[in-house]
């Protein structure tokens, strides 16, 4: 669509400026010409009058002295007719009118036209008539300035017509020239508009050898490099997308393999263990008489080993389940969870004396199932490592540090040497021998994974014989209550 700029177009502005400037210049020059014409004509008249004076004196003075009225009248008539004088009048030394011709101003002549008198400006002159240096009379005459005015008007008219013609011609030329200029500018503007709309297949054809042509060529170069850049970007993007697709496929495949693997572990690794344990038990039962105590002890060790293996498999599966588990974020009351876990622990070991100090109202957002597993592991740990103490004290609390909520589970149990704290959260890492405290070394790895999945951190403070404190944050969930 062709855009119309109207009076805002560059073309219109150029022409308007030109017309104003030209009109000013021409007006000046016309005025100047009129002044020059006027001056030169006035001078001509004056020169003519100066040339006329001695002639008039020579011709008229003797006749005035002789009082030859008829001859005077003849000359005057002739003068009015020939010299283009408006009037001529002879006055004697007594200021008496001797003779005249033409229309005398201030006369009472009836046929004097008022309009004509106004239009017809007269250049009045009075001149003494002398003979032998003696004043004999005076001659008055008036020369019409009509010619000057006519010449002025003519000069003005000619100037105006000439100016108008110049203006019209140059406006036409300007329209053509600016049309050429603005056509290129317009195609540049249209090209830029197309690019703005995302169409890069724009080429501006311009064979102009001027700045506009340069601009068009620069524009084309820009479009070409833009196109190249966009094409490169597109290719890069495609490659990236392809890579993402490939990686995602790989990930999906690995994930599926992992699923299949843990499914298979879950099913197939347990069955042989059940066989080992079951048949060992069968041996113990059916061959009770033939087996000596050492043989029975060995079989019991086989059974214990298979059961430990089963426990390992269970813990490993739980760890992988924690990773694969799809998070569902809900409000979670950690205090309530802790109470329930504490109740279960106390119920399972009623003989133990333990105090649970659980801070009330510890609510956060997270996956309730995962958070339960994490708290269970931490409480089980605390429970386990306080088992050799008569009074177990297990706490769940929270404090704020730099505006961040930090939860902790603290016990007064065996504790450990902080030198090895770094290993604590890796699977299968244990800081106690199996005879001291049983365990697979997967519990804390599971806890760490759960905290990490909630965007939090976990760390520990402990000392041998002085218990351990596990600190963790769940920041991500506090800021994104419904996010994942």
């Amino acid at each position: 669509m062709k855009k119309r700029y109207g009076i805002h177009s560059l073309r219109f502005k150029l022409i308007a400026i030109y017309v104003v400037v030209q009109a000013m210049l021409l007006t000046g020059s016309i005025a100047n010409r009129v002044i020059i014409v006027n001056d030169s004509l006035t001078k001509q008249i004056e020169v003519r009058i100066d040339g006329l004076k001695p002639l008039l004196n020579a011709a008229l003075a003797p006749l005035v002295v002789q009082r030859d009225y008829a001859a005077l009248q003849n000359i005057l008539n002739e003068a009015v007719y020939v010299q283009g004088l408006k009037y001529i009048q002879i006055i004697d030394i007594h200021s008496k009118d001797m003779s005249w011709a033409g229309k005398i101003p201030d006369s009472f002549s009836e046929d004097q036209d008022v309009d004509e008198a106004q239009q017809d400006h007269i250049y009045d002159q009075e001149q003494p008539l002398t003979m032998a240096n003696q004043l004999v009379g005076r001659v008055r005459f008036g020369i019409s300035t009509h010619a000057i005015e006519q010449a002025n008007i003519k000069a003005l008219k000619q100037g105006a017509i000439f100016s108008l013609m110049i203006i019209v011609i140059t406006v036409i030329l300007l329209i053509i020239a600016s049309g050429f200029l603005t056509r290129h500018l317009r195609s540049l503007a249209q090209g830029a508009q197309k690019i703005a709309e995302g169409d890069l297949d724009v080429i501006i054809i311009s064979d102009a050898k001027d700045e506009v042509g340069d601009t068009a060529r620069a524009f084309n170069t820009m479009v070409t490099s833009l196109k190249t850049a966009r094409e490169e970007m597109r290719i890069l993007n495609e490659q990236l997308e392809q890579r993402v697709i490939e990686r995602t496929e790989q990930l999906v495949m690995v994930n599926r393999e992992l699923e299949a693997f843990s499914y298979s572990v879950s099913h197939d690794l347990r069955a042989p263990l059940r066989g080992i344990d079951g048949f060992s038990q069968a041996l113990l039962e059916d061959y009770d008489n033939t087996l000596d105590d050492s043989g029975k002890a060995m079989l019991n060790r086989v059974r214990a080993a298979s059961q430990r293996m089963a426990q390992l498999i269970n813990d490993l599966l739980n760890l992988s389940r924690v990773t694969r588990h799809e998070m569902r974020i809900e409000p979670v009351d950690l205090s309530l969870l802790a109470h329930s876990i504490a109740h279960d622990l106390q119920h399972a070991h009623p003989e133990r004396q333990a105090v649970f100090s659980i801070m009330e109202g510890l609510s956060t957002h997270g996956d309730p199932r995962l958070l339960r597993i994490a708290l269970e592991n931490l409480f089980n740990n605390a429970w386990k490592f306080t088992s050799k103490y008569t009074h177990a004290d297990i706490q769940l609390g929270m404090y704020h540090d730099s505006g961040e909520a930090i939860f902790f589970v603290r016990d007064n149990g065996a504790g450990f040497d902080m030198t090895y704290a770094g290993k604590l959260f890796s699977p299968f890492q244990r800081l106690h021998t199996a005879t001291e405290f049983e365990g697979t070394g997967i519990g804390l790895a599971t806890v760490q994974r759960i905290i990490h999945r909630h965007g939090g951190r976990i760390w520990v403070q402990a000392a041998i014989g002085q218990g351990a404190s596990f600190y963790f944050t769940l920041p991500y969930m506090q800021y994104n209550p419904i996010g994942q």
């Binding site: 879950s266 099913h267 347990r270 069955a271 042989p272 059940r274 066989g275 344990d277 069968a282 059961q307």
Partner: protein, 146 residues
Amino acid sequence: MPLKIILLVEDNPDDEALTLRALKKNNIRNEVVVARDGVEALDFLFATGAYADRDIRIMPQVILLDLKLPRVDGLEVLRRLRADDRTKCLPVVILTSSSEEVDIIKSYHLGANSYVRKPVDFEQFMEAVRHLGLYWLILNENPSLL
């Protein structure tokens, strides 16, 4: 009146032996029919194939069904049981090694009556079998099958 039949669908001979031992140790003297894969189990239930001569009116009191089975797996067996009027109401207890959540959910969706994980510890396994026998063979009432 003949004793109520138990159908044990189990492909692992060790598990089969241990299950039979656990039943025996718990004084459960019912006849146990063992099917070693899903096809055999379906043949028995619908009196086809090797069991073509069987009296189809005699249905097991309970089916102990493993999930990982050769040929036709446990879930498929369950699906076909529930799709057939003759076996629609039979009590099916999934007795398997895993307690993968997907398995549990699928089993119940397909109409399993119970889901029991076989413990590795034989004593716990014995206990589980004892509970199963007590519940499904004595306490539980099945609709009479015609």
